[in-house]
Point group: C2
Chain length 417, copies 2
């Protein structure tokens, strides 16, 4: 008898028909002899509707009260899902985050889970119940309701799986699994059977939206076996685990891209100690996240920096930089925002020299120039002009032998949302 | 400094404008130097919408899951009301039933409050917060969420007021207070300044919908001073307390009526011990509530009974009675459903003989015959034909001197819902 945690997102339970399909899926797993805990998000647009209601009364509400409001969305989902399972003749019990023993730090709207006390879950398993837990929420030691912020339901599922020592944590989504790249861009993108936590982390951070990076980190840290699969098909999905098998001769697992990239360059900066800390400290204090940072060599006591960031933050970042000109004397600040980041990811890279060279060659063959490069042990990212992104991704997919692998993507782009 | 509990129903917070009006009202009371706890129901149609959603998935859902679902309605109200108060520059904190320490028995959909642990409320008062508590809900010792059933939010308010030893529990509604009779029927119906718990109980049971009988009983038992008043005006409302002052020369406080009455008569019943127990036991087992029961004298070992009940239950009751004919031999069962019950209520009655005679005379003068009579120490009820009810109520209002009292109803019938 296995213990399985299943997680369904909001679009999987957005209509009565989808709710019923999810219920059937859960019952199948229960009938197969498993103990089953299910984590659910708020249905469809519930969260947005609640936010709209609150905006009419307070455009800037206290985070504590927002958490009180938004957690009702998941409570509605779990109650309705438990009722649906009852209607199909099986026993289920719904639990809020606090009822499921999920304790968090006392931070509203983005609390971290500190502890899970799974006694109630085991009591319900022993009574033969399927347990339906509200995702995205927990309770502080003082009895206040908190939310976990973005990716919260994925994190709830992984944390519960760790706490009850589940055999697997299945993340159900509206795609078949994790793909070698976005199938809307490359038709022959293929679903991966396996991927390592680290690769998944790079892909998740790089814009493949199937699984939140926080949940992947939590899974890696607690060695929870994850499977990403579709709520709508019986396909096997993608296993995410510590060591993922690579196919023969393939060093790159997947190709990710991020279309929301701007670059800022600060030219002719006086090279004195603390310069970088001054600039990036000021940006951080203004809530601006920076991605890739590149510093050229120092010449005549002056250096050039460039960094990338989200396009929305570009204007603000330029004014912040101008505001620190007294502490950080520089000659000029320039910016550019019609850029993308394309990345190759694969744990096999580390032992295969020349992987980056293949990337640079493939990109330059299309006549695209590379503006910035950043590397880690398992990825290489290039910043390039936004067009022709599609040609670049296709070329890389072919160059790394990803087109020809056995398991080819069968659905069309309309299967993804 | 007083401690005040204010309770607002669902229609008082049904739109953003109403929510803001309620928030202003609460802030006024807080600024006057009071510690304020507020109990709120679910907004407008929220509860009905949730019930509709559940019906699509399970027409007969488990009560535990229904409680999980419906309690989100009040949680949404309290969060939004707290946000509205913040927007107006004052501190408020919302609490669910369980956060407010409301413990109930382990019965779903109609739990009774067993205990209130008000520590959290006092902590919030000490921090200068207005406390907004979700009505209608509590938690069992095992940590399950319950609802209190009909009138639950009134009961929450009164129980909280008792637990924190509030100076007064104000029930805000869409009418100005408790009236001498329904102002839609008698134009010069007047608002009462005071009424005793017992009188209010009789009026509440008899169809004056401003305050739930359970809440009145709880208030009487714990000696909580209640005030019923309007959310929409500054009028003083009606005080409900142990001893209410009667105006000079007035013995009847108010006139109530119930239009949903049917009568069943069982004729020629063998008068053997246990007959009543058999009949009314069978009705109770079928969930049928009986109101007035009248038994005529026994003649030749046979008796006639009559009783009244809700019109909806009439057909079912007749078949239940026929089904027990073997244990309870009788000659005939008859029924009639175009009836009403009209009642006079007043604590002064007990020391004033002739009060009932005035009622009978006033009714017979209009040419209406009385079919059944029931009396208690503080009320007389008559069952009469449904028409002309309005004339009967008006005649009684005049006969007992209620038309001429100082405080006359000023709004039209459109002020009531």
């Amino acid at each position: 008898m296995s213990l399985i945690v299943m997680k369904f997102g909001g679009s999987s339970v957005g209509t009565p028909e989808r709710m019923q399909r999810v219920a059937k899926r859960i019952i199948e797993s229960h009938k197969a002899g498993n103990r089953v805990a299910v984590v659910v998000s708020a249905m469809g647009d519930t969260t947005d509707d609640l936010i709209d209601q609150s905006k009419l009364l307070n455009p800037n509400p206290p985070a504590r009260e927002m958490d009180m409001l938004l957690t009702t969305g998941e409570q509605i989902s779990v109650a309705l899902l438990a009722m649906t399972i009852h209607q199909m003749g099986h026993q289920a019990v719904s639990l809020t985050g606090w009822q499921a023993g999920i304790r968090t730090e006392a931070v509203h709207s983005k609390a971290k889970i500190t502890d899970i006390r799974p006694d109630r879950l085991f009591k319900e398993f022993d009574a033969g119940n399927i347990v339906i837990v509200a995702g995205f929420q927990g309770m502080t030691e003082d009895g206040d309701i908190t939310t976990l912020g973005r990716g919260g339901s994925d994190t709830t599922a992984v944390a519960l799986a760790a706490a009850v020592k589940a055999d697997v944590c299945e993340i159900y989504t509206d795609v078949d699994g994790v793909y070698s790249t976005d199938p809307r861009v490359v038709k022959c993108a293929r679903k991966l059977n396996e991927i390592s936590y680290d690769e998944m982390l790079e892909l998740a951070h790089l814009g493949a939206a199937v699984l939140h990076p926080r949940a992947v980190e939590y899974a890696k840290h607690n060695n929870v076996k994850l499977v990403v699969r579709s709520s709508f098909t019986q396909n096997e999905g993608t296993s995410v685990k510590e060591e993922a098998v690579m196919e023969q001769g393939v060093v790159v697992r997947g190709i990710a891209f991020d279309k929301n990239v701007a670059r800022i360059s600060i030219l002719g900066v006086q090279d004195v100690p603390g310069v970088l800390a001054n600039v990036f400290g000021a940006l951080a204090n203004n809530g601006i996240d920076v991605d890739i940072i590149v510093q050229s060599g120092v010449q005549d006591g002056k250096a050039d920096f460039s960094f990338t960031l989200s396009r929305d933050d570009k204007e603000k970042a330029v004014s912040v930089i101008k505001s620190v000109r007294e502490q950080v004397p520089f000659e000029e600040v320039t910016s550019e925002d019609n850029l993308v980041k394309v990345s190759i990811v694969g744990a096999g890279m580390v032992s295969n020299p020349g992987v980056a060279a293949t990337m640079f060659a493939a990109i330059s063959e299309i006549g695209v120039s590379i503006k910035m490069v950043s590397t880690s042990e398992i990825k290489v990212s290039c910043i390039i002009a936004a067009e022709p992104l599609q040609d670049v991704v296709r070329a890389l997919h072919t160059a790394y032998g990803l087109d020809t692998a056995e398991q080819v993507f069968v659905g069309g782009p309309q299967d993804r949302r």
